[in-house]
């Protein structure tokens, strides 16, 4: 027998309104995202309200970081320097001033490299932490090619003109040619080319002198001097050497060979040679 339903199938006014509200997009979004976010914000606000709790959280986080960083896998125990002379290696060690063992997280490799690069004798350094807890520095040393006497200092220069080190006196490195004069280090590449070109007369060369920061003189023994031009000094030197080879120019009694002007080379004779020449010409 079908009876009338006991329960009213109609929704109450409230249920109807609530259902319509829940079907409204903004309410649904608020309920799905806004309410959880609000609850989360509230929890955080309450939890982080007190200062000592914040400090405790920060301390525990710092401890965690510390414990990971201090693991033996990350510790650096040894510092090795490759490709440097013992003296330079010692200088680098002193410069770095490392307190080993230390965690590799605490090493500031770029800062350390900058500090090592401050040394004049170091051209380049490659710092890296190698497996096994070794901090390795692969050093490229500067190679001195000349001794520069400037004012009170006597310095060694490399091929680019950079200072390698100070030396006490020139004879400490008598195997290297001497250069002198102001600004000689800036023209070092040119000097190096001149040194190569002057190889045949190198035993006689006393030194190279930068004149007025623009050109070179070559000072030979017996008080002789070669004055080279500003432009193309190497070519001029080669001409002089060719003359020397053909006519023994440098062996003669000249005090200066002036090639500053290409078109007008000038030889300055010694007083004795001048007298001899005049006598040979029949003049008194």
């Amino acid at each position: 027998m079908s009876r009338p339903p006991h329960r009213d199938p109609a929704p109450s006014r409230l249920a109807y309104r609530v259902q319509r509200m829940m079907l409204t997009p903004i309410y649904r979004r608020m309920l799905r995202f806004g309410l959880p976010l609000l609850a989360l914000a509230l929890v955080l606000l309450i939890a982080l309200g007190s200062a000592d709790r914040r400090a405790a959280i920060a301390a525990s986080f710092a401890g965690l970081v510390e414990s990971v960083q201090q693991r033996p896998e990350f510790m650096v125990n040894l510092f090795r320097v490759d490709g440097a002379s013992p003296m330079l290696a010692e200088a680098i060690r002193r410069m770095m001033d490392l307190k080993l063992p230390q965690s590799s997280f605490d090493l500031d490799l770029t800062g350390l490299r900058d500090r090592v690069m401050q040394l004049d004798a170091v051209q380049d350094v490659d710092l890296r932490v190698e497996p096994g807890g070794v901090l390795a520095a692969h050093v490229t040393e500067r190679v001195p090619v000349a001794v520069w006497r400037s004012g009170p200092n006597v310095e060694l220069l490399d091929a680019t003109g950079h200072r390698v080190m100070l030396v006490g006196e020139r004879n400490d490195r008598s195997d290297l040619p001497l250069i002198a004069g102001r600004g000689a280090n800036k023209a070092m590449p040119e000097a190096a080319a001149l040194m190569v070109a002057a190889a045949p007369i190198m035993p006689r060369v006393r030194g190279f002198v930068r004149m007025g920061e623009r050109r070179w003189d070559i000072v030979l023994d017996r008080g002789q001097r070669i004055l080279l031009p500003v432009e193309q000094p190497v070519a001029a030197l080669e001409r002089i050497l060719a003359l020397d080879k053909a006519q023994d120019l440098l062996a003669r009694d000249v005090t200066a060979i002036d090639f500053r002007l290409k078109e007008r080379p000038v030889l300055r004779l010694s007083p004795h040679a001048v007298a001899e020449r005049q006598a040979a010409r029949g003049q008194d």
Binding site: M1, S2, Q19, R20, T24
Partner: protein
């Protein structure tokens, strides 16, 4: 008239806004059931991808995304008699449909069958100022129609221009731009009881919904169950509901007459209940499972156990033959159809070129009804089912939902009504800014 203009225009604007938003609800407030459908308007392009023309020749731009039906309460003869009960029933239906659609609706288009709809034919004439028909001329000829006295406490529900005539040419659908001297129009106006509309409006407002349109159920049932050629050539749709039977006559795709008989399937049920002395619910069940209008020899031997819940064994275990049941049902069905016949005759249906009659509505599902109707109404009778629209659940494709489906079509393709045309400029209130603009546009 101005008041009506404004309320109907407001409803039209609301409907347009709702369609723009994409979701609108359909509410069929019947005497037996209240159906709520929720439509989603996608626009034509979104449904176009599957084939060239689109479903139903591109007519359906909408899709039913929610549907719910509930037993109607507090509605008699298609009119609300108990407001609270009806409000609860509407709430049930709307909530179910919203739950299925998972979307909230705010605008609702409603239909009902009661309120004693009355049809009026209106005619108007207008001499054209210059020989070309403009929109202003159409507005003027519509306002020139002489409105009959529809009686106190009644309101106009539909006022549709059905025909325009220009000089001696008639049957124009859209006279704009044509050349002539005298424009005439015929209009069909449907008035219903104002109280009925007020009650419905109140119920819908109590459900936090806004009424975005209202239509006569006889009209929308015709829209959905008459096929295109029937609407074009002339046909009558008889929507046999629970509490009332609506009839609407269509020709040239316009409704030209509508009326209702205040009898329906509920009266058949009531007759069974009285005749067999059983409760109404049981009577309804017996009617639906064993009912008919033509008795044959085998029906004498088909015994139906009718129960009752009195507790008296002898009374509760009675049986009747199906012939007896048919003997109770048939006179009432015949009475309804006779009444419909009388209304059709009064409307002059027999003068129409094609006299197709389509039976639809829940009460038209009685077996053998088409045969009986053919004897009373004329030979060309068929049973109609509503058009298939996209997304309609299988359970509500039956003839009982003809007016709900028709209301969907009505929402998608509303018929131009009187208030949709421009207001003639002399009817504008003075100092209107629009009037100034119009004057400017017309003179410059």
């Amino acid at each position: 008239m101005t008041d009506l203009y404004q309320s109907q225009r407001a409803m039209r604007n609301m409907r347009r806004a709702a369609i723009q938003r994409g979701v609108i609800a359909i509410l069929d407030v019947g005497s037996t059931k209240i159906a709520c459908l929720i439509l989603r308007f996608d626009g034509p392009d979104r449904l176009r991808d599957h084939d060239g023309v689109g479903s139903m020749a591109g007519q359906s731009q909408f899709r039913v995304i929610g549907a719910a039906t509930t037993r109607s309460r507090g509605v008699r003869f298609g009119e609300i008699s108990v407001m609270n009960e009806t409000e609860r029933a509407i709430r049930t239906a709307v909530q179910g449909a919203q739950k299925m659609a998972n979307v909230r609706v705010d605008h609702v288009i409603a239909t009902f069958s009661g309120g004693e709809p009355r049809s009026y034919g209106l005619a108007g004439e207008w001499e054209l100022q210059d020989s070309v028909v403009t929109e202003q001329d159409v507005a003027r000829v519509l306002s020139a129609c002489d409105v009959p006295d529809i009686g106190p406490g009644r309101e106009v529900m539909h006022a549709q221009p059905v025909n325009f005539a220009l000089d001696h040419r008639t049957g124009l659908g859209d006279p704009r731009g044509q050349i002539g001297n005298r424009l005439a129009c015929d209009m069909h106006m449907l008035s219903v009881d104002a109280g009925t509309i007020q009650n419905l409006l109140y119920c819908i407002k109590r459900c936090d919904l806004e009424l975005a349109g209202i239509a006569s159920s006889a009209y929308v049932a015709g829209v959905s169950s008459l096929v295109e050629d029937e609407q074009e050539l002339g046909a009558a749709c008889i929507d046999m509901g629970g509490g009332s039977t609506g009839l609407s006559i269509f020709i040239k795709k316009h409704m030209i007459y509508s009326d209702s008989v205040r009898m329906g399937g509920d009266h058949v049920t009531l007759d069974i209940s009285k005749g067999l002395q059983i409760p109404l619910a049981q009577a309804e069940k017996i009617k639906a499972t064993h009912g008919g209008v033509y008795a044959t020899g085998i029906d004498d031997r088909e015994m139906i156990s009718i129960g009752a819940d009195t507790g008296d064994w002898d009374k509760d275990s009675r049986t009747v033959s199906r012939t007896e049941l048919i003997g109770i049902m048939r006179p009432r069905v015949e009475e309804i159809l006779e009444e419909v016949r009388a209304r059709l005759d009064a409307a002059g249906f027999d003068h129409l070129p094609s006299q197709q009659i389509v039976l639809t509505g829940g009460a038209s599902q009685v077996p053998g009804l088409d045969g009986l109707a053919a004897r009373i109404l004329g030979q060309r009778v068929r049973l109609g089912r509503p058009l298939r629209v996209q997304g309609l659940p299988q359970a509500i494709t039956g003839p009982a939902f003809a007016s709900a489906v028709g209301l969907c079509l009505f929402a998608a393709h509303p018929q131009d009504e009187w208030w949709d045309f421009e207001i003639p400029s002399e009817r504008y209130p003075a100092r209107s800014f629009k009037k100034a603009i119009r004057w400017f546009r017309e003179n410059w």
